[in-house]
């Protein structure tokens, strides 16, 4: 059972298309979105944070979140590392860093990426990057697939798993309703030491650089969020390495949408090329089939034609022989009659 050459070529072509799906991931646009101009953000100066949890309390209040079991003044909560949950949009964690006398505190919440992964993967566009800088969520369209939680590199969105009806994805909104009214985000307003600075992202970058310049031995020379995942509206400066306080430094500078844009671009290629190719292959195999059908018919015809002529020849021969025989008999009879006439004449 050998594969015909045509069929083989068809397969090779098909395989070729398949392999382009992965490769074209590299070919992405050359445009880089640098955030909405004048969008707001928050600069978190980790070296200033004293771990008082005022921001958590304020966040809980302005967002009408459920009252937690332990009061916000209870600092023993800091003994374990926490993440954001559906009941807490922001959490402060304590880190004991080697070589530092004092513990370091870091506030964690949605970083409001310039190009958010959650918005890019939401198939009902529940997440939106607003020109204010805040990434907002619309619970009225959310299906609850939780792909946003898979995609978020900072592990921020949380889910109301224990709600049977209309559970929501919960995350910090940068107090979008408040900042739209010209108010400060709840946490920023509450911070007693201005470890959180609210302002335009470009101003915050300037402030951060100025602080690093002025106190070179109090800060690591890096602004976290300036380029991470393509940049975020929430920025951080710190006196210790960011990896020592639970912040990933291996996220790279590629904005989330770019991770999938290449593969997405391959979709129309497949949708466009496949039907043409498949119909082509179909046509080839169909034609091959019909050709073989034709050949069979031809052969049959050829055979039957030959048989016909032979039969005719045989018949003709038989007829001739028959005629000859008749003629012979007639002649014989005539001769006989003549001979008997002759005899009578004698």
């Amino acid at each position: 059972m050998s594969i015909s050459r045509r069929k083989f070529l068809g397969w090779i072509g098909a395989a070729g298309i398949g392999s382009t799906v992965g490769k074209s991931a590299l070919a992405s646009g050359n445009k880089h979105f640098e955030g909405y101009p004048g969008s707001f953000g928050v600069l978190h100066d980790i070296s200033r944070c004293v771990g008082c949890r005022s921001c958590e309390a304020a966040c809980n209040k302005v967002n009408d979140l459920p009252v937690p079991d332990k009061a916000f003044t209870d600092i023993s909560v800091l003994d374990e590392k926490r993440r954001t949950t559906s009941k807490a949009y922001t959490v402060v964690n304590r880190y004991d860093v080697a070589g530092k006398k004092e513990p370091v505190f870091r506030k964690n919440q949605c970083n409001h990426c310039l190009e958010p992964a959650c918005a890019s993967v939401c198939f009902v566009r529940a997440f939106k990057k607003t020109p204010t800088g805040a990434v907002t969520y619309d619970p009225n369209v959310c299906v609850g697939c939780r792909y946003c939680m898979i995609a978020c590199p900072f592990e921020i969105p949380a889910y109301e798993y224990n709600k049977a009806l209309e559970p929501r994805v919960m995350k910090c909104t940068m107090c979008y309703p408040r900042i739209s009214k010209g108010q400060l985000p709840g946490c920023v307003e509450a911070c007693p030491v201005e470890a959180l600075t609210f302002g335009k992202r470009e101003d915050l970058l300037m402030i951060a650089r100025e602080r690093i310049r002025k106190y070179p031995d109090r800060y690591i020379n890096h602004i976290y969020g300036e380029t991470e995942m393509g940049g975020t509206n929430w920025l951080y400066i710190s006196g210790v390495a960011f990896s020592d306080i639970g912040m990933r430094e291996d996220l790279g500078v590629t904005p989330a949408p770019e991770l999938t844009s290449g593969a997405l671009a391959a979709v129309p290629v497949v949708a466009g090329l496949w039907p043409v190719l498949l119909m082509g292959i179909y046509a080839i195999s169909k034609r091959k089939e019909s050709i073989s059908q034709q050949e069979i018919e031809d052969a049959v015809r050829a055979v039957s034609d030959k048989a016909d002529s032979e039969l005719a020849q045989a018949l003709a021969k038989a007829r001739k022989e028959q005629e000859a025989a008749v003629r012979k008999e007639v002649r014989k009879a005539l001769e006989e009659a003549a001979r008997s006439r002759d005899k009578e004449d004698i």
Partner: protein
């Protein structure tokens, strides 16, 4: 048929019925729990692990294993391998049921299932999940139409059946396109999370890996499922089906061997592309090698040996092994190698109720399959429609 039904009345408590009945009852109880108490009551899902086996197994594995439909119909109708024709209907039926069950399972997993059609209204086209949703919905329709001739023959609706048969070619091409897109899209879903998926499994080629391994899964599933069917439904099969079966097993085995070999090569290219050779020495690397050598290279070799020696038993067992390999691959990408950066205390392990629902869904599939093949012309050709394809 009718006298067999009469017999069934007496022997209602067959092992199959008892086991599947129990599973279904448990499943219904958990279903009620799930929809009255929320996901938290029945699953081990957490904020760090938003996807469990209902996505990893029910969706990813379900869709991959339902690939038999498009693979077989493409082979027969597009590549013109008429001699495998008898394999099309069972494969299309399994495909259809597989996809239907995936959709059923998704209703359990998503938070607000009645909003499942929302993606078609608020089209989030930058999401690969949108593509998956669109394709699964479309493909379910395509498979339904592709399977239509069987119930129509059963019901005796000749004219409609003629129409349905005429659509076969268009549906097949459509099926292949849609399958290519969503099989690869399921892999592309994870492209967004390079920081969470282990670098040995993360690759820009994930879509290609998923597409090619779905062909492998499709081919192996047809062999596997025909083996099972021959055991349980041999009485439902006509002569042609039984006669062609050997050819189907050998032919698909050969194809699977070749595709597996190709898959092995591109997986290697994947490691080379990420320059992740050094990671092979770690514990994850070991596990990756188990998957790559044990469940890709080994079955490729075994299929080849089986086809060469015409050893049907070996091919059938290899098919089982290969299917297992695809299951492992999907679970690796979605659960085992995903979130590998988390400390083990925060890792996900399914609750028994999640497993029970997955088993429940599979059982429902088997029961429906059994219902259909014992009634409709799937394993045999309807006497009225002989030679009409």
């Amino acid at each position: 048929m009718s006298d067999k039904a009469a017999n069934d009345a007496k022997t209602w408590f067959t092992p199959f019925n008892v086991i599947s009945g129990t599973i279904i009852i448990i499943g219904i109880v958990i279903t009620i729990l799930r929809f009255t108490r929320g996901l938290g009551a029945v699953t081990n899902l957490s904020d760090n692990n938003p996807w469990g086996i209902w996505i990893g197994f029910d969706l990813l594995v379900g869709v991959a294993l339902a690939a038999g439909g498009y693979v077989t119909s493409a082979a027969v109708y597009i590549f013109g391998m008429k001699k495998y024709h008898s394999a099309v209907r069972p494969a299309v039926l399994t495909g259809f049921l597989g996809y239907a069950l995936v959709v059923v399972a998704l209703n359990y997993d998503v938070g607000i299932p009645w909003r499942l059609p929302y993606p078609f209204i608020y089209q989030g086209t930058t999401s690969f999940l949108f593509e998956v949703a669109a394709c699964v919905a479309l493909y379910l329709t395509v498979l339904f139409l592709e399977f239509m001739p069987a119930p129509l023959e059963w019901l005796g609706l000749k004219k409609v059946r003629e129409l349905a048969v005429k659509l076969t070619m268009v549906l097949t091409v459509l099926g292949v396109i849609i399958s290519t897109l969503h099989q690869s899209s399921l892999g592309a879903i994870f492209l967004i999370a390079p920081s969470k998926l282990h670098p040995l499994w993360y690759s820009p080629y994930l879509p290609t890996f998923f597409f090619i391994s779905s062909i492998i899964a499709g081919l192996s599933m047809v062999i596997f499922e025909s083996t099972l069917s021959h055991h349980y439904f041999a009485d439902k099969m006509d002569e042609v089906h039984i006669k062609e079966n050997e050819g189907v097993t050998l032919g698909f085995g050969k194809a699977a061997s070749l595709v597996l070999a190709g898959y092995f090569m591109i997986k290697i290219i994947g490691i080379a592309g990420g320059n992740n050779w050094n990671l092979l020495g770690t514990s994850y690397g070991l596990w990756f090698l188990v998957e790559l050598l044990g469940f890709v290279a080994l079955p490729s070799f075994l299929y080849a040996v089986g086809v060469r020696n015409k050893d049907l038993t070996l091919i059938k067992w290899t098919a089982v092994w290969t299917v297992l390999g695809v299951v492992i691959n999907r679970l690796n990408v979605s659960l085992i190698a995903f979130n590998w950066q988390l400390p083990s205390s925060q890792r996900y392990f399914p609750s028994w109720m999640e497993i029970a629902i997955s088993v429940f869904v599979v059982t429902v599939g088997i029961v429906v399959f059994r219902f259909i093949v014992t009634r409709m012309p799937v394993f045999y050709e309807h006497p009225d429609y002989k030679d009409k394809h």
